[in-house]
Amino acid sequence: MANRWGYPDLGFGIGLRSVHFDYILKNNPAIDWFEVLSENYLDTGGRPSHVLDQVADRYPVVLHGVSLSVGSTDPVNFDYLRKLKALAERVKAHWISDHLCWTGVTGLNTHDLLPMPYTDQALRHTIERVKIIQDFLERPIALENASTYLEFAASTWQESEFVAAIAEQANCGILLDVNNVYVSSFNHGFDPQEYIDRIPRDRVVQMHLAGHTNKGTHILDTHSDYVIETVWKLYRYAHRRLGGVATLLEWDANIPAFDVVHGEALKARRFREQEDSAAVTAEQSEVIAYGD
Protein backbone atom coordinates (compact mmCIF):
# COMPACT_ATOMS: atom_id res chain seq x y z
CA MET A 1 0.00 0.00 0.00
CA ALA A 2 1.76 3.06 -1.24
CA ASN A 3 -0.81 5.69 -0.22
CA ARG A 4 -0.83 7.26 3.21
CA TRP A 5 -4.37 6.18 4.13
CA GLY A 6 -3.86 2.52 3.43
CA TYR A 7 -6.56 2.50 0.76
CA PRO A 8 -6.13 -0.93 -0.80
CA ASP A 9 -4.95 -1.74 -4.30
CA LEU A 10 -8.28 -3.18 -5.42
CA GLY A 11 -6.84 -4.51 -8.67
CA PHE A 12 -8.44 -3.89 -12.06
CA GLY A 13 -12.02 -2.70 -12.29
CA ILE A 14 -14.48 -1.10 -14.66
CA GLY A 15 -17.28 1.42 -14.31
CA LEU A 16 -20.68 -0.03 -13.44
CA ARG A 17 -22.95 0.81 -16.38
CA SER A 18 -26.63 -0.02 -16.86
CA VAL A 19 -26.04 -1.78 -20.19
CA HIS A 20 -24.12 -4.43 -18.23
CA PHE A 21 -26.57 -4.83 -15.32
CA ASP A 22 -28.20 -8.03 -16.56
CA TYR A 23 -24.90 -9.62 -17.52
CA ILE A 24 -23.33 -8.90 -14.14
CA LEU A 25 -26.27 -10.16 -12.09
CA LYS A 26 -26.59 -13.30 -14.17
CA ASN A 27 -22.94 -14.22 -14.57
CA ASN A 28 -21.16 -12.88 -11.49
CA PRO A 29 -18.08 -12.13 -13.61
CA ALA A 30 -14.70 -12.49 -11.95
CA ILE A 31 -13.81 -8.83 -11.81
CA ASP A 32 -11.84 -7.19 -9.00
CA TRP A 33 -14.08 -4.18 -8.34
CA PHE A 34 -16.54 -1.63 -9.72
CA GLU A 35 -16.53 2.15 -9.81
CA VAL A 36 -20.00 3.66 -9.48
CA LEU A 37 -21.08 7.06 -10.84
CA SER A 38 -22.44 8.56 -7.62
CA GLU A 39 -25.04 10.91 -9.12
CA ASN A 40 -26.81 8.07 -10.93
CA TYR A 41 -27.75 6.49 -7.60
CA LEU A 42 -28.45 9.39 -5.25
CA ASP A 43 -32.13 9.97 -6.01
CA THR A 44 -33.44 6.68 -7.26
CA GLY A 45 -35.27 3.92 -5.50
CA GLY A 46 -35.65 2.04 -8.75
CA ARG A 47 -33.71 -0.62 -10.59
CA PRO A 48 -30.30 1.13 -10.60
CA SER A 49 -30.40 1.28 -6.83
CA HIS A 50 -31.60 -2.32 -6.56
CA VAL A 51 -28.79 -3.52 -8.84
CA LEU A 52 -26.16 -1.46 -7.05
CA ASP A 53 -27.05 -3.03 -3.71
CA GLN A 54 -26.54 -6.49 -5.20
CA VAL A 55 -23.27 -5.48 -6.85
CA ALA A 56 -22.03 -3.94 -3.60
CA ASP A 57 -22.81 -7.21 -1.80
CA ARG A 58 -20.62 -9.12 -4.24
CA TYR A 59 -17.79 -6.76 -5.19
CA PRO A 60 -15.71 -3.94 -3.73
CA VAL A 61 -17.17 -0.61 -4.79
CA VAL A 62 -15.77 2.92 -5.11
CA LEU A 63 -17.90 6.05 -5.66
CA HIS A 64 -16.87 8.44 -8.41
CA GLY A 65 -18.75 11.71 -8.84
CA VAL A 66 -19.02 14.39 -11.49
CA SER A 67 -20.93 17.12 -9.63
CA LEU A 68 -18.92 17.90 -6.51
CA SER A 69 -17.74 21.03 -8.34
CA VAL A 70 -14.95 21.44 -5.85
CA GLY A 71 -13.51 24.50 -7.58
CA SER A 72 -16.77 26.42 -7.91
CA THR A 73 -17.30 29.75 -6.17
CA ASP A 74 -20.89 28.72 -5.38
CA PRO A 75 -21.66 27.59 -1.82
CA VAL A 76 -20.93 23.94 -1.03
CA ASN A 77 -24.04 21.84 -1.68
CA PHE A 78 -24.61 20.06 1.62
CA ASP A 79 -27.80 18.40 0.41
CA TYR A 80 -25.70 16.66 -2.24
CA LEU A 81 -23.01 15.77 0.30
CA ARG A 82 -25.57 14.35 2.73
CA LYS A 83 -26.88 12.00 0.06
CA LEU A 84 -23.37 11.13 -1.10
CA LYS A 85 -22.31 10.25 2.43
CA ALA A 86 -25.38 8.06 2.95
CA LEU A 87 -24.77 6.27 -0.36
CA ALA A 88 -21.11 5.68 0.50
CA GLU A 89 -22.11 4.16 3.82
CA ARG A 90 -24.82 2.04 2.25
CA VAL A 91 -22.57 0.45 -0.39
CA LYS A 92 -19.49 0.42 1.88
CA ALA A 93 -17.52 2.44 -0.66
CA HIS A 94 -13.77 2.05 -0.23
CA TRP A 95 -13.36 5.71 -1.12
CA ILE A 96 -15.09 8.64 -2.82
CA SER A 97 -13.59 10.52 -5.74
CA ASP A 98 -14.50 13.42 -7.99
CA HIS A 99 -12.69 15.88 -10.25
CA LEU A 100 -10.48 18.88 -9.70
CA CYS A 101 -12.69 21.25 -11.64
CA TRP A 102 -15.87 23.26 -11.42
CA THR A 103 -19.12 22.35 -13.18
CA GLY A 104 -21.13 25.54 -12.80
CA VAL A 105 -21.70 28.75 -10.88
CA THR A 106 -24.62 31.01 -9.85
CA GLY A 107 -26.65 27.87 -9.20
CA LEU A 108 -26.35 26.55 -12.75
CA ASN A 109 -24.73 23.26 -13.69
CA THR A 110 -23.24 22.65 -17.14
CA HIS A 111 -22.51 19.02 -16.22
CA ASP A 112 -19.09 19.49 -17.77
CA LEU A 113 -15.72 19.30 -16.02
CA LEU A 114 -14.60 22.89 -16.52
CA PRO A 115 -10.98 24.00 -16.19
CA MET A 116 -9.63 25.94 -13.24
CA PRO A 117 -7.33 28.90 -13.58
CA TYR A 118 -4.23 27.74 -11.72
CA THR A 119 -3.82 30.80 -9.51
CA ASP A 120 -3.01 31.31 -5.82
CA GLN A 121 -6.58 32.42 -5.22
CA ALA A 122 -8.04 29.33 -6.88
CA LEU A 123 -5.62 27.17 -4.88
CA ARG A 124 -6.65 28.69 -1.53
CA HIS A 125 -10.33 28.57 -2.45
CA THR A 126 -10.21 24.92 -3.50
CA ILE A 127 -8.18 23.79 -0.52
CA GLU A 128 -10.71 25.40 1.80
CA ARG A 129 -13.60 23.65 0.06
CA VAL A 130 -11.90 20.26 0.02
CA LYS A 131 -11.37 20.55 3.77
CA ILE A 132 -15.04 21.41 4.34
CA ILE A 133 -16.15 18.51 2.15
CA GLN A 134 -13.83 16.02 3.82
CA ASP A 135 -14.91 17.15 7.29
CA PHE A 136 -18.53 16.60 6.32
CA LEU A 137 -17.91 13.23 4.68
CA GLU A 138 -15.58 12.24 7.52
CA ARG A 139 -13.07 10.73 5.13
CA PRO A 140 -10.41 11.91 2.70
CA ILE A 141 -11.59 12.17 -0.88
CA ALA A 142 -9.54 11.63 -4.03
CA LEU A 143 -9.52 14.28 -6.76
CA GLU A 144 -8.98 13.44 -10.40
CA ASN A 145 -7.06 15.54 -12.88
CA ALA A 146 -9.62 16.40 -15.56
CA SER A 147 -8.98 16.59 -19.29
CA THR A 148 -8.94 20.24 -20.30
CA TYR A 149 -9.23 22.03 -23.60
CA LEU A 150 -8.11 25.52 -22.68
CA GLU A 151 -5.65 27.27 -20.40
CA PHE A 152 -6.14 30.59 -18.63
CA ALA A 153 -3.59 33.32 -19.13
CA ALA A 154 -3.91 34.13 -15.42
CA SER A 155 -2.51 30.73 -14.36
CA THR A 156 0.73 30.97 -12.42
CA TRP A 157 0.99 27.28 -11.59
CA GLN A 158 1.50 24.27 -13.82
CA GLU A 159 -1.44 21.90 -13.58
CA SER A 160 0.58 19.05 -12.05
CA GLU A 161 1.97 21.38 -9.37
CA PHE A 162 -1.53 22.68 -8.68
CA VAL A 163 -2.89 19.13 -8.29
CA ALA A 164 -0.02 18.20 -5.97
CA ALA A 165 -0.41 21.37 -3.88
CA ILE A 166 -4.16 20.83 -3.44
CA ALA A 167 -3.55 17.24 -2.35
CA GLU A 168 -0.77 18.16 0.07
CA GLN A 169 -2.41 21.20 1.61
CA ALA A 170 -5.98 19.90 1.76
CA ASN A 171 -4.76 16.45 2.76
CA CYS A 172 -6.72 14.64 0.08
CA GLY A 173 -5.93 11.83 -2.32
CA ILE A 174 -5.29 11.90 -6.05
CA LEU A 175 -7.05 9.86 -8.68
CA LEU A 176 -4.52 10.01 -11.48
CA ASP A 177 -6.26 9.72 -14.82
CA VAL A 178 -3.45 8.67 -17.13
CA ASN A 179 -5.52 9.25 -20.24
CA ASN A 180 -6.38 12.75 -19.04
CA VAL A 181 -2.68 13.50 -18.50
CA TYR A 182 -2.09 12.46 -22.10
CA VAL A 183 -5.11 14.37 -23.47
CA SER A 184 -4.17 17.59 -21.67
CA SER A 185 -0.49 17.20 -22.61
CA PHE A 186 -1.55 17.01 -26.27
CA ASN A 187 -3.94 19.96 -25.95
CA HIS A 188 -1.53 22.18 -24.04
CA GLY A 189 1.83 20.92 -25.18
CA PHE A 190 3.44 19.72 -21.96
CA ASP A 191 5.48 16.60 -21.22
CA PRO A 192 3.17 13.95 -19.70
CA GLN A 193 6.02 12.13 -17.96
CA GLU A 194 7.15 15.32 -16.25
CA TYR A 195 3.54 15.78 -15.12
CA ILE A 196 3.55 12.34 -13.50
CA ASP A 197 6.96 13.00 -11.94
CA ARG A 198 5.42 15.88 -9.97
CA ILE A 199 2.58 13.80 -8.50
CA PRO A 200 3.29 12.80 -4.88
CA ARG A 201 3.34 8.99 -4.72
CA ASP A 202 1.77 8.66 -1.30
CA ARG A 203 -1.33 10.63 -2.36
CA VAL A 204 -2.32 8.46 -5.33
CA VAL A 205 -5.12 6.05 -4.46
CA GLN A 206 -6.37 5.14 -7.92
CA MET A 207 -5.64 5.44 -11.64
CA HIS A 208 -8.01 5.81 -14.56
CA LEU A 209 -7.55 4.64 -18.12
CA ALA A 210 -9.81 5.36 -21.09
CA GLY A 211 -10.01 5.83 -24.81
CA HIS A 212 -10.35 9.25 -26.39
CA THR A 213 -11.13 10.97 -29.70
CA ASN A 214 -8.35 12.67 -31.57
CA LYS A 215 -9.76 15.58 -33.60
CA GLY A 216 -6.39 16.47 -35.10
CA THR A 217 -6.19 19.93 -33.59
CA HIS A 218 -7.11 18.68 -30.12
CA ILE A 219 -8.14 15.54 -28.25
CA LEU A 220 -11.50 15.04 -26.57
CA ASP A 221 -11.82 12.80 -23.52
CA THR A 222 -14.76 10.76 -24.81
CA HIS A 223 -14.28 7.35 -23.11
CA SER A 224 -15.54 5.88 -26.34
CA ASP A 225 -12.80 3.56 -27.50
CA TYR A 226 -9.86 1.34 -26.63
CA VAL A 227 -6.90 2.83 -24.78
CA ILE A 228 -4.21 3.87 -27.26
CA GLU A 229 -0.69 2.47 -27.12
CA THR A 230 0.89 5.75 -26.00
CA VAL A 231 -1.43 5.90 -23.00
CA TRP A 232 -0.57 2.31 -22.08
CA LYS A 233 3.11 3.28 -22.15
CA LEU A 234 2.32 6.25 -19.94
CA TYR A 235 0.40 3.97 -17.57
CA ARG A 236 3.43 1.74 -17.35
CA TYR A 237 5.56 4.78 -16.57
CA ALA A 238 3.05 5.93 -13.93
CA HIS A 239 3.14 2.49 -12.33
CA ARG A 240 6.93 2.61 -12.21
CA ARG A 241 6.86 6.02 -10.54
CA LEU A 242 3.82 5.63 -8.28
CA GLY A 243 3.55 1.92 -7.53
CA GLY A 244 0.59 -0.43 -7.80
CA VAL A 245 -2.73 1.27 -7.18
CA ALA A 246 -6.31 0.35 -8.00
CA THR A 247 -6.81 0.82 -11.73
CA LEU A 248 -10.05 1.42 -13.55
CA LEU A 249 -10.99 1.33 -17.22
CA GLU A 250 -13.66 3.89 -18.20
CA TRP A 251 -15.90 3.28 -21.22
CA ASP A 252 -18.95 5.55 -21.42
CA ALA A 253 -19.92 5.93 -25.07
CA ASN A 254 -20.48 3.19 -27.65
CA ILE A 255 -20.10 0.78 -24.74
CA PRO A 256 -19.29 -2.74 -25.95
CA ALA A 257 -20.08 -6.04 -24.22
CA PHE A 258 -18.93 -6.52 -20.64
CA ASP A 259 -16.14 -8.94 -21.61
CA VAL A 260 -14.68 -6.42 -24.06
CA VAL A 261 -14.55 -3.65 -21.45
CA HIS A 262 -13.23 -6.02 -18.80
CA GLY A 263 -10.65 -7.40 -21.25
CA GLU A 264 -9.38 -3.88 -21.85
CA ALA A 265 -9.10 -3.33 -18.09
CA LEU A 266 -7.13 -6.55 -17.72
CA LYS A 267 -4.52 -5.29 -20.20
CA ALA A 268 -3.47 -2.99 -17.38
CA ARG A 269 -2.49 -6.03 -15.32
CA ARG A 270 -0.24 -7.18 -18.17
CA PHE A 271 1.44 -3.79 -18.44
CA ARG A 272 1.97 -3.70 -14.70
CA GLU A 273 3.45 -7.20 -14.66
CA GLN A 274 5.75 -6.32 -17.55
CA GLU A 275 6.89 -3.25 -15.69
CA ASP A 276 7.39 -5.17 -12.43
CA SER A 277 9.42 -7.92 -14.10
CA ALA A 278 11.48 -5.33 -15.96
CA ALA A 279 12.19 -3.66 -12.63
CA VAL A 280 13.24 -6.99 -11.06
CA THR A 281 15.53 -7.73 -14.02
CA ALA A 282 17.08 -4.29 -13.73
CA GLU A 283 17.58 -4.81 -10.00
CA GLN A 284 19.21 -8.20 -10.58
CA SER A 285 21.48 -6.72 -13.24
CA GLU A 286 22.45 -4.05 -10.78
CA VAL A 287 23.29 -6.67 -8.12
CA ILE A 288 25.35 -8.60 -10.63
CA ALA A 289 27.11 -5.42 -11.67
CA TYR A 290 27.90 -4.59 -8.07
CA GLY A 291 28.98 -8.23 -7.52
CA ASP A 292 31.46 -7.86 -10.35
Binding site: E39, D43, G46, S67, T73, Q121, A122, G189, H218
Partner: protein
Protein backbone atom coordinates in the same frame (compact mmCIF):
# COMPACT_ATOMS: atom_id res chain seq x y z
CA UNK B 1 -25.44 39.77 -19.90
CA UNK B 2 -24.31 43.28 -20.49
CA UNK B 3 -25.19 44.21 -16.90
CA UNK B 4 -23.22 41.36 -15.37
CA UNK B 5 -20.20 42.89 -13.59
CA UNK B 6 -18.26 39.72 -14.27
CA UNK B 7 -18.48 40.54 -17.95
CA UNK B 8 -17.23 44.09 -17.73
CA UNK B 9 -15.32 44.59 -20.99
CA UNK B 10 -12.69 46.68 -19.24
CA UNK B 11 -11.64 43.93 -16.82
CA UNK B 12 -7.96 43.08 -17.06
CA UNK B 13 -6.10 39.98 -15.96
CA UNK B 14 -5.21 41.73 -12.69
CA UNK B 15 -8.93 42.15 -11.85
CA UNK B 16 -9.74 38.58 -12.69
CA UNK B 17 -11.06 36.80 -9.61
CA UNK B 18 -12.02 33.14 -9.69
CA UNK B 19 -15.70 34.07 -9.46
CA UNK B 20 -15.44 36.44 -12.42
CA UNK B 21 -13.64 33.84 -14.52
CA UNK B 22 -16.33 31.30 -13.76
CA UNK B 23 -19.26 33.61 -14.45
CA UNK B 24 -17.67 34.74 -17.68
CA UNK B 25 -16.94 31.22 -18.88
CA UNK B 26 -20.44 30.10 -17.96
CA UNK B 27 -21.84 32.93 -20.07
CA UNK B 28 -19.64 31.81 -22.96
CA UNK B 29 -20.99 28.26 -22.69
CA UNK B 30 -24.67 28.91 -21.98
CA UNK B 31 -25.17 32.31 -23.53
CA UNK B 32 -27.31 32.75 -26.63
CA UNK B 33 -24.42 34.04 -28.69
CA UNK B 34 -21.27 32.36 -29.92
CA UNK B 35 -18.14 32.60 -27.84
CA UNK B 36 -16.75 35.05 -30.40
CA UNK B 37 -19.49 37.49 -29.45
CA UNK B 38 -19.44 36.65 -25.76
CA UNK B 39 -15.77 37.43 -25.47
CA UNK B 40 -16.75 41.03 -25.03
CA UNK B 41 -13.41 42.70 -25.16
CA UNK B 42 -9.86 42.32 -26.30
CA UNK B 43 -8.99 41.97 -22.63
CA UNK B 44 -11.36 39.03 -22.26
CA UNK B 45 -9.93 37.51 -25.41
CA UNK B 46 -6.60 37.57 -23.62
CA UNK B 47 -7.89 35.61 -20.65
CA UNK B 48 -7.61 32.33 -22.56
CA UNK B 49 -4.35 31.27 -24.16
CA UNK B 50 -4.30 29.97 -27.71
CA UNK B 51 -2.72 26.58 -28.38
CA UNK B 52 -0.44 25.72 -31.28
CA UNK B 53 -3.45 24.64 -33.30
CA UNK B 54 -6.44 26.55 -31.91
CA UNK B 55 -7.21 30.17 -31.11
CA UNK B 56 -8.53 31.16 -27.68
CA UNK B 57 -12.03 31.43 -29.14
CA UNK B 58 -11.84 27.99 -30.74
CA UNK B 59 -10.76 26.50 -27.42
CA UNK B 60 -13.75 28.09 -25.67
CA UNK B 61 -16.03 26.82 -28.42
CA UNK B 62 -15.05 23.23 -27.57
CA UNK B 63 -16.85 23.61 -24.25
CA UNK B 64 -19.77 25.45 -25.79
CA UNK B 65 -20.17 22.88 -28.58
CA UNK B 66 -20.40 20.00 -26.10
CA UNK B 67 -23.10 21.61 -23.94
CA UNK B 68 -26.26 21.16 -26.02
CA UNK B 69 -25.48 17.60 -27.19
CA UNK B 70 -25.02 16.68 -23.52
CA UNK B 71 -28.41 18.15 -22.65
CA UNK B 72 -29.99 16.52 -25.68
CA UNK B 73 -28.58 13.14 -24.72
CA UNK B 74 -30.03 13.45 -21.22
CA UNK B 75 -33.47 14.51 -22.45
CA UNK B 76 -33.57 11.90 -25.20
CA UNK B 77 -33.21 9.19 -22.55
CA UNK B 78 -36.42 10.37 -20.89
CA UNK B 79 -38.29 11.40 -24.04
CA UNK B 80 -37.44 8.82 -26.75
CA UNK B 81 -40.93 8.76 -28.27
CA UNK B 82 -41.15 12.55 -28.42
CA UNK B 83 -37.77 12.59 -30.15
CA UNK B 84 -38.98 9.89 -32.54
CA UNK B 85 -42.07 11.94 -33.38
CA UNK B 86 -40.25 15.26 -33.83
CA UNK B 87 -37.14 13.87 -35.51
CA UNK B 88 -33.59 14.57 -34.39
CA UNK B 89 -33.33 18.10 -35.74
CA UNK B 90 -36.64 19.40 -34.35
CA UNK B 91 -35.97 17.67 -31.02
CA UNK B 92 -32.57 19.39 -30.76
CA UNK B 93 -34.28 22.73 -31.51
CA UNK B 94 -36.73 21.99 -28.71
CA UNK B 95 -33.88 21.08 -26.34
CA UNK B 96 -32.07 24.33 -27.11
CA UNK B 97 -35.12 26.43 -26.34
CA UNK B 98 -35.98 24.35 -23.26
CA UNK B 99 -32.59 24.56 -21.55
CA UNK B 100 -32.52 28.31 -22.19
CA UNK B 101 -35.57 28.53 -19.91
CA UNK B 102 -34.90 25.55 -17.65
CA UNK B 103 -31.12 25.05 -17.44
CA UNK B 104 -29.89 22.41 -15.01
CA UNK B 105 -29.68 23.63 -11.43
CA UNK B 106 -29.11 20.19 -9.99
CA UNK B 107 -26.20 17.84 -9.38
CA UNK B 108 -28.03 15.30 -11.54
CA UNK B 109 -29.28 15.33 -15.13
CA UNK B 110 -31.90 12.73 -14.27
CA UNK B 111 -34.56 15.34 -13.56
CA UNK B 112 -33.55 17.85 -16.25
CA UNK B 113 -36.73 17.14 -18.20
CA UNK B 114 -39.21 17.64 -15.37
CA UNK B 115 -40.61 20.85 -16.91
CA UNK B 116 -40.66 19.69 -20.52
CA UNK B 117 -44.43 18.97 -20.80
CA UNK B 118 -45.35 22.40 -19.43
CA UNK B 119 -42.71 24.01 -21.66
CA UNK B 120 -43.99 22.24 -24.76
CA UNK B 121 -47.47 23.53 -23.90
CA UNK B 122 -46.19 27.12 -24.20
CA UNK B 123 -44.80 26.70 -27.72
CA UNK B 124 -46.71 27.88 -30.74
CA UNK B 125 -44.72 26.37 -33.59
CA UNK B 126 -44.51 22.70 -32.69
CA UNK B 127 -46.24 20.23 -35.04
CA UNK B 128 -49.27 18.62 -33.36
CA UNK B 129 -48.53 20.42 -30.13
CA UNK B 130 -51.37 18.90 -28.07
CA UNK B 131 -50.20 15.42 -29.02
CA UNK B 132 -46.62 16.38 -28.05
CA UNK B 133 -47.81 17.63 -24.66
CA UNK B 134 -49.64 14.37 -23.97
CA UNK B 135 -46.68 12.30 -25.12
CA UNK B 136 -44.29 14.32 -22.96
CA UNK B 137 -46.63 13.94 -19.95
CA UNK B 138 -46.64 10.17 -20.37
CA UNK B 139 -42.86 9.95 -20.79
CA UNK B 140 -42.25 12.16 -17.77
CA UNK B 141 -44.56 9.98 -15.66
CA UNK B 142 -42.64 6.88 -16.76
CA UNK B 143 -39.30 8.43 -15.85
CA UNK B 144 -40.61 9.46 -12.41
CA UNK B 145 -41.93 5.95 -11.86
CA UNK B 146 -38.58 4.49 -12.92
CA UNK B 147 -36.88 6.31 -10.03
CA UNK B 148 -39.66 6.05 -7.43
CA UNK B 149 -39.00 4.27 -4.16
CA UNK B 150 -39.76 0.58 -4.13
CA UNK B 151 -42.79 -0.33 -2.05
CA UNK B 152 -43.68 -4.02 -1.82
CA UNK B 153 -47.14 -4.76 -3.26
CA UNK B 154 -49.90 -6.49 -1.36
CA UNK B 155 -49.42 -10.21 -1.25
CA UNK B 156 -52.28 -12.69 -1.81
CA UNK B 157 -51.98 -13.67 1.86
CA UNK B 158 -52.48 -10.07 2.99
CA UNK B 159 -55.53 -9.76 0.75
CA UNK B 160 -56.99 -13.03 2.04
CA UNK B 161 -56.51 -11.80 5.62
CA UNK B 162 -59.01 -8.97 5.08
CA UNK B 163 -62.46 -10.03 6.41
CA UNK B 164 -65.07 -10.07 3.66
CA UNK B 165 -67.30 -7.59 5.47
CA UNK B 166 -64.40 -5.12 5.79
CA UNK B 167 -63.82 -4.62 2.06
CA UNK B 168 -66.59 -2.08 1.50
CA UNK B 169 -65.04 0.40 3.93
CA UNK B 170 -61.44 -0.53 3.08
CA UNK B 171 -59.09 1.99 1.52
CA UNK B 172 -56.34 0.84 -0.83
CA UNK B 173 -53.03 2.65 -0.87
CA UNK B 174 -51.20 2.55 -4.24
CA UNK B 175 -47.51 1.75 -4.47
CA UNK B 176 -45.20 4.77 -4.81
CA UNK B 177 -44.35 3.91 -8.42
CA UNK B 178 -47.89 4.60 -9.62
CA UNK B 179 -49.37 7.26 -11.88
CA UNK B 180 -52.82 7.72 -13.45
CA UNK B 181 -53.09 9.74 -16.63
CA UNK B 182 -55.85 10.95 -18.94
CA UNK B 183 -55.02 12.04 -22.49
CA UNK B 184 -56.63 13.61 -25.52
CA UNK B 185 -54.47 11.45 -27.81
CA UNK B 186 -53.63 7.71 -27.80
CA UNK B 187 -50.04 8.35 -26.74
CA UNK B 188 -49.54 5.04 -24.97
CA UNK B 189 -50.43 3.23 -28.16
CA UNK B 190 -48.05 5.50 -30.06
CA UNK B 191 -45.23 4.68 -27.62
CA UNK B 192 -45.93 0.99 -27.99
CA UNK B 193 -45.68 1.20 -31.77
CA UNK B 194 -42.43 3.13 -31.56
CA UNK B 195 -40.99 0.69 -28.98
CA UNK B 196 -42.00 -2.46 -30.79
CA UNK B 197 -41.81 -1.59 -34.43
CA UNK B 198 -39.97 1.71 -34.56
CA UNK B 199 -42.83 3.11 -36.62
CA UNK B 200 -45.12 6.12 -36.21
CA UNK B 201 -48.84 5.35 -36.34
CA UNK B 202 -51.24 7.93 -37.72
CA UNK B 203 -52.11 10.48 -35.07
CA UNK B 204 -55.73 11.38 -34.43
CA UNK B 205 -57.33 12.83 -31.32
CA UNK B 206 -58.95 10.23 -29.05
CA UNK B 207 -59.53 10.28 -25.32
CA UNK B 208 -57.44 7.63 -23.59
CA UNK B 209 -56.66 6.65 -19.98
CA UNK B 210 -53.57 4.92 -18.67
CA UNK B 211 -52.20 3.64 -15.39
CA UNK B 212 -48.39 3.54 -15.26
CA UNK B 213 -46.67 1.56 -12.52
CA UNK B 214 -43.61 -0.48 -11.73
CA UNK B 215 -43.48 -4.17 -10.95
CA UNK B 216 -40.26 -6.06 -10.18
CA UNK B 217 -38.36 -2.88 -11.04
CA UNK B 218 -39.80 -2.82 -14.57
CA UNK B 219 -42.00 0.09 -15.66
CA UNK B 220 -45.38 -0.94 -17.12
CA UNK B 221 -48.44 0.83 -18.39
CA UNK B 222 -51.97 -0.45 -18.79
CA UNK B 223 -54.68 1.12 -20.95
CA UNK B 224 -57.89 1.72 -19.03
CA UNK B 225 -61.48 2.42 -19.98
CA UNK B 226 -62.77 5.70 -18.61
CA UNK B 227 -64.86 4.13 -15.78
CA UNK B 228 -61.88 2.01 -14.72
CA UNK B 229 -59.78 5.17 -14.65
CA UNK B 230 -62.46 6.88 -12.53
CA UNK B 231 -62.61 3.98 -10.10
CA UNK B 232 -58.85 3.71 -9.76
CA UNK B 233 -58.60 7.48 -9.33
CA UNK B 234 -61.17 7.31 -6.56
CA UNK B 235 -59.19 4.58 -4.81
CA UNK B 236 -55.88 6.41 -5.26
CA UNK B 237 -57.39 9.56 -3.77
CA UNK B 238 -58.29 7.68 -0.57
CA UNK B 239 -61.93 6.86 -1.10
CA UNK B 240 -63.19 3.53 0.20
CA UNK B 241 -63.67 0.60 -2.11
CA UNK B 242 -67.44 0.92 -1.64
CA UNK B 243 -67.36 4.61 -2.59
CA UNK B 244 -65.13 3.91 -5.59
CA UNK B 245 -67.47 1.21 -6.85
CA UNK B 246 -70.54 3.39 -6.39
CA UNK B 247 -68.86 6.26 -8.23
CA UNK B 248 -68.86 4.21 -11.40
CA UNK B 249 -72.06 2.23 -10.88
CA UNK B 250 -74.24 5.27 -10.25
CA UNK B 251 -72.93 7.54 -12.92
CA UNK B 252 -73.12 7.79 -16.65
CA UNK B 253 -71.60 4.38 -17.43
CA UNK B 254 -74.45 2.36 -15.96
CA UNK B 255 -75.66 0.04 -17.31
CA UNK B 256 -72.66 -0.21 -19.67
CA UNK B 257 -70.44 -1.13 -16.73
CA UNK B 258 -71.50 -4.25 -14.93
CA UNK B 259 -70.50 -5.14 -11.40
CA UNK B 260 -68.66 -8.21 -12.66
CA UNK B 261 -66.39 -5.98 -14.72
CA UNK B 262 -65.44 -4.00 -11.65
CA UNK B 263 -64.25 -7.16 -9.99
CA UNK B 264 -62.25 -8.08 -13.10
CA UNK B 265 -60.54 -4.70 -13.07
CA UNK B 266 -59.89 -4.95 -9.38
CA UNK B 267 -58.44 -8.43 -9.78
CA UNK B 268 -56.17 -7.20 -12.60
CA UNK B 269 -54.88 -4.30 -10.52
CA UNK B 270 -54.18 -6.60 -7.60
CA UNK B 271 -52.39 -9.03 -9.88
CA UNK B 272 -50.27 -6.22 -11.28
CA UNK B 273 -49.32 -5.17 -7.75
CA UNK B 274 -50.47 -1.56 -7.92
CA UNK B 275 -51.52 -1.47 -4.24
CA UNK B 276 -49.23 -1.66 -1.27
CA UNK B 277 -51.68 -1.69 1.65
CA UNK B 278 -55.32 -2.07 2.68
CA UNK B 279 -56.49 0.28 5.39
CA UNK B 280 -59.44 -1.11 7.29
CA UNK B 281 -62.30 0.94 8.70
CA UNK B 282 -61.98 3.65 11.32
CA UNK B 283 -59.14 1.91 13.13
CA UNK B 284 -57.04 2.32 9.96
CA UNK B 285 -55.51 -1.08 10.55
CA UNK B 286 -53.10 -1.70 7.72
CA UNK B 287 -52.94 -5.06 6.10
CA UNK B 288 -49.74 -4.78 4.15
CA UNK B 289 -47.70 -7.45 2.50
Amino acid sequence: MGTDPALDPDLTLVDLTLEKVQRWMLACILGPRTSEETVVSEAARGWVLPSKTLSAIERLEIYRDMYLPRMEEALAIDYPALKHFLGGQEFMRLVKRYVDVYPSRSYTLNRLGDHLPEFVATLTDLPKKEFCVDLARLELALSVIFDANETPPLTPDAVRAVPEEAWESARLRPIEAFHLLAFDYPVSKYMGAVDRENRSPRIAAKKTWVVAYRRNYQVHRMDLREPAYEMLSALASGRTLGEAIMSVLTRKWRPAVKQSQLFEWFRDWMAEGVFQAVELGDAKAVAAS
